[in-house]
Amino acid sequence: MSGPREVRLSTTPPREVVGNLRLGDIVYLDGLMYTAREGVYRRALVDRANIPMDLPSESAANFHCSPAARINADGSFDMGAVTATASFRFSEWLPEWMAKTGARLIVGKGGMSSKDYRDYFVPNGAIYLSTVGYGTGALLGRGVENVEAVHWSEELGLAQAMWVIRCSRMGPFIVASDLNGDCLFERENARIAENVARVYEGTKPAVLKRYGETDDRADEVI
C-alpha cells in the first residue's frame, strides 16, 4: 500500500497549484499563516476594524485555531501546541471574509459542507485543509518557525486573537475539498453508510421519542 500523496504547499499558492490538489492528499505548509475565528471575523466584518495585515499578498491561509501560547512579559511569544477548532460554525462569516481577504486555504477541523464548497470556496479558488487526528498539536507546533505577531489580543483575548505564524513544513494537513467542490468527509460518510443498517440490526428505537429525531443515519445531526 503506497499511502496518500504528500505535497509541500506555499501559503500563497497560485490557482493552478490549488487546482491540482486531490481529496486525501497530505499537505505541508510553508509561509505565513494567520489565525482567524469568530472574534476576528466579527471585528473585521461587523466592527469594520482595519485588518493589520496585507491580505492576500502576505498570506492566503486562514487557520481556524487558538494556539496553546503565552505572551511573555518582554512582549515575546511562546507557542506550544497548535490544533484547529471545528470550522462548520464559521460558514456565516467565510463568504465575506474570502471576498475581502482573498483567502485560498481554509485550514481547520472537520471541514465544511459540499454546499459551502460549491457556493463560495470554488468561485474564490479556495480549498479546505483539515488538521489530522485531531489533533497533532505537537507536530504542528514543530512546524511553527516563528510567531511573527499577535493582533487584537487585548480586545479579543489570547484564544480569539489573530496570531501570525511563519510555517516551515508545517503539517500534516489533509485536503478535504477540491476545486470541483467535492467534500472528502461526505465521500467517506457515504461509504460508511452502506454498512450501517447491518450494525443496527436487532437494536430498537427508544420507547419515548425526542423532538426533532431523524431515523436516517445518512443525516448529520450536528
Binding site: A68, A81, T85, G133, T136, G137, A138, K204, E220
Partner: protein, 318 residues
C-alpha cells in the same frame, strides 16, 4: 498532616504530565488499533497521532493545541489531614491550574458562558471542577488531573426499562454515529457509558467511566464486563475510523459504570475521552512521599458498594 505547598507543587507537575504525556494504557491500545487498521486514510491518521505523542514528549509540548478543560478528582483516605483544611486544598488546585496554564502553556479555554470573559488562566466560576471521593483507610490524598476535551462526543438520554439492552445499543450507536462523523469525537477514544443514577449522576458516571478507568480494565460485575466487551466490538464494527474516515477502529475501549436509579427509568449517558486521553495521578502520603501513576484506580469496591454500612470483604466480623 500533608503540607499544602507539596499539594500545590504536585498539582502543577500533574497538569504538566497530563497535557504532555499520553498514558501508557491508551498508547498501547492505540498501537494495537494502528496494527489492525486497513483504511488508507485512517491508517495514516493513527500513524500521525503516534508520531505526535512522541513529539510532545521529546519537546515537552502539549500533545494537542486544544488542551481541553482542566478538572480535578481528589480522593482522600479516611485519616488524611490537609494543612489548612479543604479550603486551602481547593485554593492550591485553582492556583496550580492558573500557573500551569501559563507554564506549559495550556490554552486558556474557560470563559463565562454569557459574557465570554476569559481570565486567561482556566479559572473561573465552577472552573476547574473539583470532585471528591473517599476510601475507608489511609492518610494519603490522591490528586487526579484530567484535561477533558470540551465540545463533542457526549450525550444523555432518559431510557426506560422496556427499552432494554437493544435500546441501550441503539443509543450507543447513535452517539457514535452522530459524533464520529468528520471525527468530531476525536476518535478512536475510550468510550464511557453511565447507566442509572439520577440525571446528573448518570452523566458523572459516564464521564468517570471514560476518564478514570484505564484501557483493558473491566467492571467488577462479570455481566457488565461482558457488555463492555460486546460494546467495544459493536462500536468497531460500524466501519468508521479516525476522523470519520472508512476504518475499523472507533473505540479503544468501552467502560460502563452503573448507579441505582428511579424504578421507572433507565437513564444513559455516553462520553468519549478523545485521542488525547489526558490524565495524570499522584498519591501524596502523610510523610511527604509522592508517587506518580496514570491509573486513577477510582472505582474501588468501596465506590461501587451496595450496602448501608461498609463491610470490607473478609473482615466483616470482629
Amino acid at each position: 498532616m500533608i503540607p499544602i505547598q507539596l499539594i500545590k507543587e504536585t498539582a502543577e507537575a500533574l497538569m504538566d504530565k497530563a497535557a504532555i504525556e499520553i498514558p501508557q494504557d491508551y498508547l498501547d491500545g492505540l498501537q494495537a488499533a494502528a496494527e489492525t487498521e486497513d483504511g488508507d486514510l485512517s491508517s495514516f491518521v493513527l500513524k500521525a497521532m503516534l508520531e505526535n505523542y512522541q513529539a510532545a514528549k521529546e519537546d515537552r509540548r502539549a500533545m494537542c493545541g486544544d488542551t481541553g478543560v482542566p478538572r480535578w478528582f481528589v480522593k482522600l483516605g479516611n485519616e488524611a489531614r490537609i494543612e489548612g483544611g479543604m479550603i486551602a486544598l481547593e485554593s492550591a488546585l485553582r492556583r496550580a491550574t492558573a500557573n500551569s496554564t501559563k507554564g506549559v502553556p495550556l490554552r486558556p479555554n474557560r470563559v463565562h458562558p454569557l459574557w465570554r470573559t476569559d481570565h486567561n488562566n482556566n479559572v473561573g466560576i465552577g472552573a476547574p471542577e473539583i470532585e471528591y471521593g473517599f476510601e475507608p483507610e489511609g492518610e494519603w490524598v490522591d490528586l487526579i488531573a484530567v484535561h477533558k476535551g470540551g465540545l463533542f462526543g457526549t450525550d444523555y438520554r432518559m431510557l426506560f426499562p422496556s427499552d432494554g439492552i437493544q435500546g441501550i445499543k441503539r443509543f450507543y450507536l447513535d452517539s457514535l454515529m452522530a459524533f464520529g462523523k468528520r471525527g468530531l469525537a476525536c476518535q478512536p477514544a475510550i468510550i464511557g457509558i453511565g447507566l442509572g443514577g439520577s440525571k446528573d449522576i448518570c452523566m458523572t458516571l459516564g464521564k468517570r467511566a471514560s476518564t478514570l478507568r484505564v484501557v483493558g480494565s473491566r467492571n467488577s460485575d462479570p455481566r457488565i464486563a461482558d457488555l463492555e466487551d460486546e460494546f467495544k466490538e459493536l462500536g468497531n464494527s460500524i466501519g468508521m475510523g479516525a476522523m470519520g474516515f472508512v476504518g475499523r477502529n472507533m473505540v479503544i475501549d468501552c467502560n460502563i459504570e452503573v448507579g441505582y436509579c428511579h424504578t421507572g427509568g433507565m437513564p444513559m449517558s455516553v462520553h468519549a475521552f478523545c485521542l488525547s486521553s489526558r490524565r495524570a495521578v499522584a498519591r501524596i502520603h502523610a510523610d511527604g512521599r509522592v508517587s506518580y501513576r496514570t491509573n486513577p484506580d477510582w472505582f474501588t469496591d468501596y465506590q461501587r458498594r451496595e450496602t448501608i454500612d461498609w463491610e470490607p470483604v473478609g473482615d466483616a466480623t470482629e
